[in-house]
């Protein structure tokens, strides 16, 4: 029953963020007018046009990316037992970004090709992070800092290659420069229209695996002893995360830190059981992304910031706080 209340609160937050996102902008549009644009579209009204063709797609992209990344972070933190794990800290987003760019700049791929390349890149980036952690022999324990360090290393490497790739084609550079910075923008709506089933599939797989994935959080051996085929479940779970996170990157570029931060905000309220943590993280992640998007657009008006840049700023601060609380503070448990 408490869980229903929590879900309700998260949903209300998301709704409020959506209203803010749809009505605030270069020209504010009253919420009533926004609602009218949604249910009774008037082709004559400029406001209605703005809501439907610009703000709504933009909001939907923010919701999609936020939900998928936050859910992914919750699962990755559970499987690795590492509180700093997330799609953006373990090389998934950077890999998907590079995959995308290679497909566009190297092969001039269409949307489907770009999606496939982003997926391949996401898996590749994650695999590279694991390989670097293993090769450096910094420790086989995935719970420690080494995994995060190698994730950061991989991320920087892949971002560097992506940047170089961008320089090779001056004509298309401008178009992808903003995407590279994590840009939630309505002109990526066609990407969302193609890729959203991936996020849905990812979410459904993760929900189905919620219980065994939670068990893995108790340690691999105990999970095995309680009947979980740990290898298969954690592979399926991680694959679903990479699927969702890569699709989000393919849509709006690497929107960082939602996946890292949101599970930490939500866990104290819902508890660590993924059956509850996952859906609430998704809702709160979506709301956070929407609000950051509003903030990015409005805080420095008339200039607009890329949402990804703003989230990086906010996320960087949160990351520092988490590292301090979990690793550096005197008496930290890890």
């Amino acid at each position: 029953m408490r869980f229903a209340g929590t879900c309700g609160a998260a949903l209300a937050l998301l709704l409020a963020a959506a209203v803010a996102s749809l009505s605030l902008g270069a020209t504010p549009i009253a919420p009533r007018e926004v609602l009218r644009a949604l249910v009774a579209f008037d082709a004559e009204s400029v406001d209605h046009f703005v809501v439907l063709s610009q703000r709504l797609p933009r909001a939907l992209i923010a919701v999609y990316a936020g939900a998928v990344l936050a859910a992914g972070g919750a699962v990755m933190q559970g499987i690795t037992g590492n509180p700093l794990a997330s799609p953006s800290t373990l090389g998934v987003s950077a890999g998907a970004m590079l995959g995308m760019l290679v497909s566009v700049f190297g092969f001039g791929a269409g949307l489907a090709g770009q999606g496939g390349a982003a997926l391949a890149g996401g898996f590749g980036g994650f695999a590279l992070t694991l390989a670097v952690a293993r090769l450096t022999g910094l420790g086989p324990d995935p719970r420690g800092v080494p995994l995060i360090l190698s994730g950061a290393l991989t991320g920087m490497l892949l971002a560097g290659v992506s940047g170089t790739l961008l320089l090779t084609d001056p004509a298309r550079r401008a178009e992808y420069l903003s995407w590279l910075a994590g840009n939630i923008n309505h002109f990526y709506a066609d990407r969302l229209a193609v890729f959203w089933p991936l996020g849905l599939a990812s979410g459904l797989i993760l929900l189905a695996l919620a219980r065994p994935l939670t068990l893995i959080g108790l340690g691999r051996e105990r999970a095995e002893a309680l009947g979980v085929p740990v290898r298969r479940v954690s592979r399926a779970g991680l694959a679903a995360v990479v699927l969702g996170a890569s699709s989000a990157t393919a849509i709006c570029g690497p929107v960082g830190f939602v996946g890292l931060v949101v599970p930490h905000l939500v866990r104290p309220v819902t508890g660590a059981h993924l059956a509850r943590l996952l859906p609430v993280s998704a809702l709160v992640g979506a709301a956070l992304c929407l609000l950051s998007d509003v903030l990015a657009r409005r805080a420095f008006a008339p200039f607009t910031l890329h949402t990804g840049v703003l989230l990086d700023l906010v996320g960087g601060v949160c990351f520092g706080t988490l590292v301090y609380r979990l690793y550096l503070r005197p008496g930290a448990r890890r």
Partner: protein
């Protein structure tokens, strides 16, 4: 086949010439053991003698290099994790304790072996979970966070998790570690009841030989990965075995129907 069916009746769990290595170092040599239903077996031996490794082989977490483990007469290696988990519960020596998981949620996770991904939790299951918490004295703490309990309470929560699995065979690696005197006896009384009352099979690693003598029917004494002695606890745990297995001299005395193991050190400071 005939032989295996016969085995299934008499021995729930057995090992045949088990050999286990980690890397190049051999940890267990030629271990052949049989565990009968309705018996409480204490697994004893010095630190590093291979007790935990043997436990991990018995539940299939460690793969033997040679030999095999039979559960219900069938090779363990041929059974799925869920099949095993419905027959065998295991309490590891140490536990990872995730943040923000309540005691109640922990114990409910025991149901996975029965329900799998899509099965539903029945009212009877819930009653079982509550019962498991009651027996370890944590009924009032179901809503508490695991990571905020004391070491002993946490250990009891994990014991409740193993009990909630409701399996005919229980393997417990040092279950009374971290427990205060009262709960050491409470837990062992409970385990004894499971054996005597419900005919369960228990294999329990114990360090305190007096507890082993008081509670176990049988004992297995390990030394450097070999079985030094096995059989009824009072026969296995004699002065010579203690000397050989642990490298200390001890007196074994009968007192009020109980067999006590008194290391010589304790006698010098004036204990009976």
């Amino acid at each position: 086949m005939q032989y295996e069916t016969h085995c299934a009746v008499r021995y729930v769990l057995s090992t045949e010439r088990l050999k286990f290595s980690i890397g190049r170092s051999a940890i267990l040599h030629d271990i052949s053991l049989r565990f009968r239903p309705g018996r409480f077996t204490a697994l004893v031996g010095a630190n590093g003698s291979g007790k935990s490794s043997l436990m991990r082989c018995l539940i299939g977490l460690a793969a033997p290099e040679a030999g095999r483990v039979l559960l219900d007469g069938r090779p363990l290696a041929s059974q799925t994790r869920r099949q095993i988990a419905r027959r065998l519960a295991y309490l590891p020596q140490s536990s990872i304790c995730p943040d923000h998981l309540t005691v109640g949620e922990l114990v409910e996770l025991a149901g996975f072996a029965r329900t799998g991904l899509f099965g539903t939790v029945r009212a009877a299951d819930r009653e079982g979970y509550r019962e498991a918490l009651r027996t370890v004295g944590l009924a009032g703490k179901a809503a508490r966070q695991l990571s905020r309990l004391s070491g002993g309470e946490r250990q009891r929560a994990f014991i409740a998790l193993a009990l909630a699995q409701d399996t005919p065979v229980l393997l417990m690696d040092e279950p009374v570690n971290h427990l205060d005197l009262k709960y050491q006896y409470a837990v062992l009384d409970l385990l004894r009841d499971l054996v005597t009352g419900q005919g369960k099979t228990l294999v329990v690693v114990l360090h305190d030989l007096n507890l082993a003598l008081a509670y176990a029917d049988d004992a297995v004494l390990l030394k450097q990965g070999r079985v030094l002695a096995q059989g009824p606890a009072r026969q296995v745990l004699d002065a010579r075995a203690v000397a050989e297995g642990f490298g200390i001299a001890a007196d074994l005395r009968d007192l009020g129907g109980r067999r006590l193991c008194l290391p010589k050190g304790a006698q010098m400071i004036g204990m009976p």
